[in-house]
Structure formats: C-alpha cells, structure tokens
Symmetry: C2
Subunit: 374 residues, 2 copies
C-alpha cells in the first residue's frame, strides 16, 4: 500500500529549464508558441522537458503519497506504466491534428486509432480499450464527420480494440480545423518485458520494422501546395501484432519506439541520450521506398527525419537480433524489416555511415519540418 513515483525529469529542476535543454523565456520569438514547437524535435522538447515535466513531476510527487498505485512514468511524451494491484498497465494519449484529414493510405480517424494502439504496443502492452474525444469546428460537414467516425469504427474493429468512452466538444468557426481527435488507451503488459529508453547497451542491434518515411511523404503530397507527384501512400497501420511477435522472439528487447514526429533520427538521438550510448547507423541498410527517396530528394529532406505511422524501431541484445529479425520478416507487415546499425560505447551521439563511406552526425530535428503530420 505504498506509492512511489519515478518520472524521468529530476525534481528541483528550475522551471523552464529541462535536462540539458535551456529555454530562457521570455526572449523574442521564444515568447510565443511556434509551429516548430509541435514538430517533435528540439522545440517540442523545450515545452515538454522545460515546462511540463518539471511542473507535473513535482505535482506527481506531491500527489501520490498514500495512494495504492505505483506510477513509473518514464517520459511524459510516451506511454506511462501504471501498476494497479497485480495488473501492469500501459497508459498513453495522443491528439491528432493532421492536415489534410484525408490522405492516401488513411485519414485522421484511422490514424487516431493506430497512433495510440501503437504507443501502447511500444510499452510492450496489448491494447485493451481506447477513449475518443472529438473537438469539432462549427461548420464541419456532417457527412465528413460520418466518414471519419466510420473510419474510426473500422480501424477499432480491425485492430480489435474497442472505444469505450468519449467526449464531443464544438468550437466556433475559425477556432479549429474541422476536427481534432484525441485518443487515449489502456493496455495490459503480461509479458515479462523490461522496456526503457535507458536500457540500450553497446553491442545491441538496431532494427526497423519496414521502409521509413511513407507517412510524411504521403501527407506532404496530399497537401497539394508542394505539387509533389508521387504514388506513396501512408504507412498508417497497427504495429501491435508485429511488436508482440518481436517481444516473443526477443524477450530481452531493450526498447521499442515508433518514429513518428521527428522520424528515425530524432528517436535514435533520444534513445542515445537516455542510455548514454552511441548509435551507428548504416544508411544503405535503412529501407526507404524509391518514391519516398525521390520525394525527399526533390524537397531537400532526409528520410531519416520523416514521420512513420506504422513502423517501429527495436533495440535488441545481439544474441536475440537474428530471432527478432526473423520474427519480423516472417510476417507480411515486417517483410522489409532490417538491421540498420548497432549500439556502441558512448558518449551519447548518433552517427550515420553514408553509402559513400563518410560519417555524418545526426541530431534531433530542429525547427519545423513537417507541421501537423499527425
């Protein structure tokens, strides 16, 4: 009947100043929220690590004494692990503001289901149930809302996770953008896994479950303004079954992470920092579809920074790497999985070994590359 709270941010951290990320407000353009604050990179971290984590961690420490609930929230930006009695639950939330709402390979409705079940799966959990909260803009066509609701329902049925509670709000015309969706999920962790961003060790293998960047390119093309002519479709999909297959084959998997906003490069930087290790990535081993590569070249983007919504990274101990890769490749949704590099001794950094043999340091996404990608 005791309680403990362990959030990643240390307590006593000065407000607006997170671990290594200085955010000296208010100064010039930093005094207001910018689109880049939603990009998933360093600017997003300013808000999360600089503002939210210090305040909410302090509150959590004050809140939990005497409560029969052990909260082991690793990071605010991802799923939390909540122990309730004998049950180990994963708990994760995501808002979806993608623009446009309909795109090749998906829409905001199915994306909202896939996004949260995937976050639960990244915690090693089997998703049990989802909540659904809609913020509708006055003037949204009912027929479009119906189409989105049907897509939500179809995705819920397909992934086998029911929506059991919800909320609907309406905001004035010009105070929204059709519809914003929040889904929050509860999952159950039954496998004896220990997944954490700080678990990575030198020698571990870095696996990716399939070709990267499809979602981001599909969204950019759907926006139209770029006049990008491509047949790339979003990879938006549930990775739950594939993730569970990996955990069965490689029970000592260190961490799973889906490279959404900020892409593979940003996720690897975060993991390298959390584990104080180096990541060596072989560019020519990273699966990228020709259409994605062509679009990225045209736009001057690096696929390693482009969001996926149906892929994940698995950091796996060397002795389980073959089993994890085989488990992925034996399934249709993991056929293009690959080992893209390995973990080395720190200090924390990510190095890309390029196809021509040079080495390039990868850093977190900074600034606004792809706003409202999810």
């Amino acid at each position: 009947m005791t309680a403990s709270t362990d959030m990643r941010a240390s307590n006593g951290v000065a407000r607006l100043r997170g671990g290594g990320i200085a955010c000296p407000l208010p100064i010039d353009d930093r005094a207001v929220v910018q689109m880049a604050h939603g990009g998933g990179g360093t600017k997003t971290a300013e808000i999360i690590e600089g503002m939210l984590l210090p305040a909410l961690t302090e509150a959590a420490v004050a809140a939990t004494p005497g409560q029969d609930c052990r909260v082991q929230a690793g990071e605010l930006s991802d799923g939390a692990i909540v122990q309730v009695g004998d049950e180990r639950l994963a708990f994760s939330t995501d808002s979806f503001v993608v623009s446009p709402r309909f795109f090749p390979g998906g829409d905001i409705g199915s994306l909202a289901i896939h996004g949260t079940v995937n976050d639960l799966a990244m915690c090693g959990a089997v998703p049990l149930t989802l909540s659904l909260a809609l913020v509708l803009e006055e003037g949204l066509e009912m027929a479009e809302l119906q189409r989105i609701v049907d897509s939500i329902a179809a995705a819920s049925a397909a992934v086998g996770v029911p929506v059991t509670t919800g909320d609907t709000k309406v905001v004035d015309r010009g105070k929204g953008d059709g519809v914003y969706i929040n889904t929050t999920g509860i999952g159950r962790i039954t496998a004896p896994v220990d997944l954490s961003p700080s678990n990575c060790r030198p020698g571990d293998a870095i696996l990716v479950s399939g070709p990267i960047g499809d979602h981001g390119v599909a969204i950019m093309a759907a926006r139209g303004g770029l006049h990008l002519d491509t047949d790339v479709v979003s990879d938006s999909a549930s990775v739950v079954d594939l993730a569970m297959a990996v955990l069965t084959a490689a029970p000592n998997t260190r961490v799973l992470r889906d490279p959404t906003r900020g892409g593979v490069a940003t996720v690897l930087c975060e993991l390298a920092d959390a584990s104080s290790v180096a990541f060596d990535v072989d560019e020519h081993h990273v699966p990228v579809r020709p259409g994605v590569r062509a679009a990225c070249e045209l736009l001057g983007l690096d696929p390693l920074y482009v969001a996926c919504e149906g892929r994940f990274l698995a950091i796996v101990p060397p002795e389980e790497a073959d089993a994890a890769l085989a488990a992925m490749q034996s399934r249709a949704d993991g056929a293009a999985a690959a080992v893209i590099g390995e973990v080395a001794q720190g200090p924390a950094h990510v190095v890309l070994r390029t196809a021509i043999g040079s080495r390039r340091r990868l850093t977190r996404l900074s600034g606004e590359q792809l706003p409202r990608i999810c």
Copy 2:
C-alpha cells in the same frame, strides 16, 4: 478468458438514427456541425447517440472477442467500466475548450483536472492517474502557457492524482483558440457499488451536493460581452472526496452524476429516460446562490440548465437518503447539500414543482445556451 461487450446503444440501430432521437441527415442546417452540437443537450445527443454509438458499438462487438478484458461501457459520453483481471477500473475522457481560459474561480488548466477526476468519481472510482494532451495555437504566449501548466500541476497535486503521460501538438494561428486540453483518467473501483443511470427506482431521493449554476454564470460574466456585473465564482473543484463519503454512507446509491453541460435538468431527463421513471423536483429545495439567481433572471436563463463543475447529483434509495445527506452536510464542501426531490413511477419525465405551487415539465437542453462552457 472470455469477453463481452455491453454498450447502451442497441446494435443494429440504423446509422444516424439513435434511440428515439431522429437525425435525418443531410437536411439543411443539420448538414453541418453547429455550436449547439456542443451544448450537451439534444443536439449533442444527435451526434453521440445518432452517429458515434451505433458505429463504435458495432466496432466494439467486432473488436472484443478473444480478448481478456470485459468492457461494460454504459454510455460513450461518460466513464466506462473496464475489468482487467481482478481490477475494476473506470476510464473517462474530456476535452476542455472553455472560453475565456481564465475566469473567477478557476481556469482551463484546473478545470481539466477537476473535470476528469469528477467523472471518475461519478463512476464510483478513486482516480489513480491522468493523461494530459495539449493542442496549442501558434502565437499563444509562453507565459500564459506556463500559467496554465502551473495551474494543472497545482490541481493535480491538490487532488492527489498524478499526470503520468502526455502529448503536445501545435496548430496554425487561426486554427485553434490558444489552448485546448484533453485529460483522460483511470480510476479504481474498490467499493462494492453498482452505479448506473438505469438503476433509479420510485421512492429514491434526489440529492444535490451544493448550490448550482455557479460555473456557468461565472463563465458568462467573464466573457464580458454580456456586461454582467456579478461576484459569482466558478464552483470548479474536485468532488472526489465528497462522492466517496456519500458512497460510504449510502452504499446502495443508484447513480452519481455531475451536472456539467446541460445542467441539472438535462441530467435528470437522461436518468429518467434511462430508468423509465419520473423525477419530481421541488424548485424551492434546489440550492441556488442569490448572485446566480439574479444573473439568470437578467439573462432569462433557468439555473437548472446552467452548468456546474464542482457539484453532483446522487440518486439514493429512501432508507439511505438521510445518511447520504448527513455525510454531505458534515463536510465543508457539502454543507449546502439538499434533497431536491424524489423518484416516482414512470413514464419517464421530469416535473418541477415550482415555488408558487404549479408544475412544469423539464426537458433536455435544446439548442445552444452556453457554448464552450467547459
């Protein structure tokens, strides 16, 4: 290891046509979302019962076979009960779009904490943890965001419920309104209670935990456009401890419900419909502060339709009514609690016995009374 799903809406209900609420789309102004769809009354029910419940119930039935999780979602608009192993959990979500964001007695941040812990308490659950998802509008001042985050943290600490996972998105200027917040909570039901909107029986007492309408009037006054001069402050607060006190004193309580959007009248209409009973309410027993009464008279509003954010209704069997009332009144936050009427034989309807002795039928809130009240 079996699964069952029981959502209130019956299956096979035609799309866009809910239980008794016809929504023949697309016709004229019904073809688009209107502000009234967010009011919590009949228009909101059109979307929830007419569109969401049929689609999502069908999906839930398809989703749950084979899953080791018993979902007993009563209504999509309120908390769901999720059985996980031996644990009985409550699960509830709410988005907060209140305008203005700061008002006498609270702000969008504390409201977002109170709103969801209260919904969990209405399920008979002790709140364990919350998620927090922010949708920020480009241009929001960082100093204001900090103020809201501090308010969230202070409320989290005060109610003793930690925020353990979160998400932050940014939308373009003109596509939001500063900040929208979603909180979703997990609670634990340990008391042997059986709360359901369909539990009300003739003879039951109708209790309210305190004076009604304060929140709605405070918001209207804060908007300024009405030039309403009042010192009414919002009742926004956690009702968790008070609700638990009621359940301890009156373990056979039929149902708890917080009268937010749509107010006391709308909630009673929903309960009457769900239980197929009549509710007789004595107007002169309903606690209303003089300032709220004066403001409502000025604006032509009925306090029974004005939202509260720190009050709840309890329907209690007659033999436990005195104990429930005493439990409320013995606490500072329940000192003004009152029995406001009783349940009678159906058919389902709500009748107000007015102070002058006449009888008036109360119906659900229709149309848009107070947009963006929470």
